[in-house]
């Protein structure tokens, strides 16, 4: 077990949250979620579709840039991944800027599809590797998409969990609050409390995030590594040693 890399633990943990779904989509710049979706697909016995933006092989769209969003609006995408330069305790995400948006201290690419997908995809998994008070904040400087909505706002989708390089949080929509679900091996609840800028619930017992079993590791290092290398060759080489020569 101890030979599982931290990325492999994340991949297996995310894949566990995708089990039983029909269609998982993965956006740009998301190698770990992409690998997790491909792992879940491997385990589904052919029942799950995975659409990975940027992939030729794992891309089922033929109607242009709008199709991902249309597909989500039709209710045909069960899970998606979003990140944020900042994420706050109400699961608001900020992909735009720090400080005054008109003269920002930092400017990021932009909100991409988050202002829509966060509302309509039932299971949005937030993914932010850097877990510090700088990234997990009390209140984001710009709401690219809100974590919760008023009762009269159409919102079949929303945040399901937040995974970082230190731990996994669940999100409770009714209470608009995160709960610490598990701590990754080598990390502690105290460390997480120090490194998290927002308040969250801590159950009496917080388990360690499970490490993948041998069978899962074999899937990750075999077909998943090979498939993710098509889309993220640098990532596949760094994490799995799947190089250009492979």
């Amino acid at each position: 077990m101890s030979d599982a890399r931290s990325e492999e633990i994340l991949i297996a943990t995310i894949a566990g949250m995708l089990a039983g779904l029909r269609h998982v989509a993965v956006g740009a710049s998301s190698p770990v979620p992409g690998a997790a979706a491909l792992l879940a697909k491997q385990r589904s016995g052919g029942a799950m579709r995975v659409s990975v933006l940027g992939s030729e092989r794992h891309n089922f769209f033929t109607d242009g840039g709008k199709e991902l969003f249309d597909c989500a609006g039709q209710g045909r995408i069960d899970a998606f991944f979003l990140s944020g330069a900042q994420i706050d305790g109400q699961a608001n995400i900020n992909l735009v800027s720090i400080g005054d948006p008109d003269r920002p201290k930092a400017r990021f690419p932009g909100s991409f599809g988050s202002g829509y997908l966060y509302f309509v995809v039932p299971r949005v998994i937030l993914f932010r590797l850097e877990h510090t008070p700088r990234t997990l904040v009390e209140r984001v400087d710009f709401i690219s998409s809100p974590g919760i909505s008023d009762a009269n706002v159409y919102r079949p989708g929303g945040p399901y969990a937040l995974i970082t390089d230190r731990c996994l949080f669940d999100f409770d929509k009714a209470r608009a609050r995160f709960t610490l679900r598990s701590v990754h091996p080598g990390h502690t609840t105290n460390e997480i409390a120090e490194q998290t800028g927002f308040a969250y619930d801590i159950p009496e017992v917080v388990p360690e995030t499970p490490t993948p079993d041998a069978e899962t590791l074999a899937l990750i290092r075999g077909p998943v590594a090979e498939q993710i290398a098509e889309i993220y060759p640098a990532f596949a080489e760094r994490v799995f040693g799947v190089g250009k020569a492979a």
């Binding site: 242009g64 609006g73 690419p109 932009g110 909100s111 599809g113 829509y116 998409s145």
Partner: protein, 273 residues
Amino acid sequence: MTDILSSIDPLAAKVTDGVVITLPPDYSGCANALWRAVIRRGVKDLHLVGVPVFGYHGDLLIGAGCVATVETSAVTMGEHGLAPRFTAAVKAGSIRVLDATCPAIHAGLQAAERGAPFSVMRGLIGSDILDRRADWRIIDNPFAEGDPIVAIPAITPDLAVFHAPKADRQGNVWIGVRRECMVMAHAARDTLVTVEEIVDDDLMADPSTKAGTIPGLYVSAVAEAKQGAWPQGLYTRYGNDNDHLARYAEMARTEEGFAAYLSEVVSGREAAE
């Protein structure tokens, strides 16, 4: 009828100060040879609309001082990081940014495509994107009680501009599955296209090519530009020149570096283009 031009300069001449232009995403054919010619012309005050995002090509135009407004869901160089000139311009307050979310851009273009004044869309309510878009509205869904929904006005650009693998002599342009280019052409007043090659075949004659073809009806002018997307890639033809893009990302981090890049790659290539 479509003008079939023998070089990109008369095409670049159609890009005039202050026009609203839709740009495709990086993977759908960026007309970089044309943009270099536009920069050499010294065009000003462009309003760029990312469909729904853009990268290098828009960053280059921003850095060269051609752009007043950017309306987009994101500007990114992908694996090469943040778009440096966009980031610098936003921090300096030298361009106006209208942040959007991808399907809002598509909704606005589809409204224009349909000749409708707006489209409605779910999402957005409670976001600062919506809060900062004075040109968008929340209306009541007339088919339900107490159901607010966002109305996005039609985006009707002056120009759609992109690069594609091929066109025929009737101005039909093959784009394969890059359908956002078709929506862009439908929505725009005029569409300017550079292509790798102008072919003698009629792209509308074979049902296979026809299915991925924008009719010349929507295409104002076409010019051939070999490797016209370089240093970006072109679907079905060639990949990104990643070494070049990495070098751009590095050089464009400073104004001096960007000026050197322009001098080398934009001014310096004039004779060759």
